[in-house]
Symmetry: C2
């Protein structure tokens, strides 16, 4: 099986070679391979489930938690999900070769900017076998070669899924080695050094892990370490809505990066909305840590300075009472992680100000921060969520995996003619 | 004068504060400030020319070359150029707040992706005082705060120009400290450490300098170190065109990053086009270094392996004879710097293949590589040329200085309703 060995450099070089051919491949060829992959996964269902059973057995022996086991499980439902995802990707408009700009620079000299793949992408992801299929699918759709490193707990499942994808790709005529599977932690270390072969690393995982990756590679990294998300209850907000949204953002899935960690409350709401929200949070089993005014209102524990920068990923929330909308915005821009932050308000002007001034990938009005997700945004899936401001920001789908290049087509045109004013630029926008 | 001291951290913090207000500023406010800046520069012409005279005098004493002195000179012509540039920027469509995508995620829940500034940009540029005005103008148009570090030789000129821009900005109501001027090499070192305050560094200058910057900061860097550009003469190319384009690409301005460094020639052209081009290069005073077959054809000096990765920035060119279009493409992707590479051919299919498979920011057909430039591309000017594949690629104008954010507006929407299938996503594309 091409692309499944421990020689990371060889895998990366193969992926680099494959990336050139993949960049020039037709939309049809890539869509065909996506459909073939879905078919191959279905054909190999028994082998895949058997491999997954091995992983689940080992995980149970190691005493993994029930939620962790649930994420690790790959059953008929998950298989149907990933196959539906692959077929949806195949049906999507081709993201490659799109003309983004066309300008006549001068008579007979035409500049065109077209979208193209990034090249070779390395993705490190958690112990969810379905993630392997989603990520490989997004990369293939966008014409990128990919190196995949999944969680150790899912090793058997990942190998079985990868083998199916590789076989389908080979049969569909994809360039050899377009996808490679890494298996160990050491493989990741080796990958980080291959900045000539790999164009982009997308790490998903714990804060410490992502920060380690960002600090130990010359390869560009897209992703997020912290997810310190905020909700701000503005003066005069709908208290029932505030309670519903805060409880959802905190408890619907507290381990997610888009769960809320800090609640900011306008001082006029300390005796009103905060009371209603505090009661709802208490009922949902959430531990509250407040500043002085929040403590006075709720009788909760004290928050320390450190709490404003803490991602609990648990049933814990920090609460601060602020004097104004401006103070709330300043708090978010200072202590937040530029991931996703929301305001609950009935005041359209306050909402406009918040959306304009909060410097985050997602800025929300009257809804839960938990919507920050590639599937919910309509991208099919996501390879990651980026909190930096270059290239992709927020959930990254197929579009985030594309770059562009400038094509210039002429008839022997030289710059000297323009320098000597024998010719002049027209700069006529064509597209 | 706000923003002109040696305390880099304070400047960067001021710039960060200013960046929030700038991001929310109106297109009118920014355009007004650009027009005011042009007016202020014109009003201060005498002071600016006097400052420039000081720089020129010192440069002459230090024995700077004639081309270097020419770049350093800021006279009536340069003043008119930069003022025209500022007014053209003011008239351009606003790049900020553009709706790039709007999707109804579910009934009453609407996602909008809008362009926004990156935030705080640090630009390090060469000893050309007009570059300061161009860069500050591009940043202001795109709503970014900026830290500017120009060449030491232009210190007096830069200070005078900066003071005019700062005064105009203050009068036009821009947030205090939106631009800051750094003056020493030590300032640059301090800037590289301020990854909480600065979002992006754009270094322009020598290869070694740019590589140093890339290796010594956690702040994202956009730019290019090498500019090893290629031209490939395909079988059956127009020999007169080939000679004209190669000579222009090599000699029109050899010190530029977009000048050609390596000529690749199809073997069938070694006795035809290469002879014509070699003669033209010799007449233009270009030293040629060839592989065995090029030496045999031209009787030129020998190229070593190292030459294929060398940016001469001088009247020198390396020449290699290849067996096929595919070999030329492989050479470029292997030894090039992904900057700008061209093919000279009459064969439309060969051109298509070359444009599709060469992995560079600019891929050209029948024209000089010297066209790779923001002004020539119609962007007004450029803050730099990027050879990476993330975010902006190629010459970066105003658009390259923009990011985007996702706004989500609802009515109390929570994810639990979708998880429990009480509601369904519609994902209806609105824009």
């Amino acid at each position: 099986m091409a692309g499944r060995t421990a020689d990371v450099r060889a895998l990366a070089q193969q992926a680099r070679e494959a990336s050139f051919a993949l960049a020039a491949s037709s939309a049809q060829a890539r869509s065909g391979a996506l459909l073939a992959a879905a078919k191959e996964l279905e054909a190999r269902r028994e082998a895949i489930f058997a491999a997954n059973a091995l992983d689940l057995e080992a995980a149970r022996e190691e005493g993994l938690s029930a939620p962790a086991l649930k994420r690790l499980r790959f059953d008929e439902g998950k298989l149907a999900d990933v196959c539906r995802g692959l077929r949806a990707l195949a049906a999507m408009e081709d993201p490659i070769g799109r003309v983004q700009l066309r300008t006549e620079l001068a008579d007979g000299l035409v500049l065109t900017r077209v979208s193209c793949p990034i090249g070779v992408v390395g993705v490190i992801f958690e112990s969810r076998p379905d993630a392997l299929v989603q990520i490989a699918g997004l990369c293939l759709k966008s014409g990128n070669a990919v190196l995949l490193k999944g969680g150790r707990e899912a090793a058997h499942s990942n190998a079985a899924l990868f083998d199916a994808l590789a076989a389908a790709g080979e049969a569909a005529g994809l360039p050899r080695g377009w996808a490679g599977l890494l298996t160990t932690r050491e493989d990741v270390g080796e990958m980080l050094a291959l900045d000539r072969e790999i164009d982009l690393i997308i790490p998903r995982g714990s804060n410490a892990f992502v920060r380690y990756i960002m600090d130990h590679s010359r390869i560009p990294v897209l992703g997020h370490s912290d997810g310190v998300c905020h909700l701000y209850l503005d003066r005069g907000c709908d208290t029932a809505m505030a309670a519903r949204v805060v409880v959802d953002a905190k408890t619907q899935y507290p381990a997610a990066c888009n769960a809320v960690e800090t609640l900011l409350v306008h001082r006029d709401e300390a005796g009103r909305a905060l009371m209603v929200v505090g009661k709802a949070l208490a009922e949902a089993g959430v531990r509250m840590l407040g500043d002085e005014r929040a403590q006075a209102a709720l009788g909760c524990e004290a928050a320390t300075q450190e709490d404003w920068e803490t991602e609990y990923l648990d049933h814990v929330i920090s609460i601060r009472v602020v004097d104004s909308l401006e103070e709330a915005i300043a708090h978010i821009n200072r202590y937040g992680s530029h991931h996703t932050d929301g305001i609950i308000t009935e005041d359209a002007e306050a909402a406009r100000t918040f959306l304009a001034l909060v410097d985050s990938a997602g800025v929300y009005h009257n809804c839960s921060t938990r919507f920050a997700d590639g599937y919910r945004y309509g991208f099919g899936a996501e390879v990651g969520i980026a909190t930096g401001k270059l290239h992709a920001r927020g959930p990254m789908g197929v579009e985030g995996l594309c770059s562009y290049k400038y094509l210039l087509e002429g008839h022997g045109d030289i710059v000297e003619d323009f320098a000597k004013e024998r010719r002049a630029f027209t700069h006529r926008r064509l597209v």
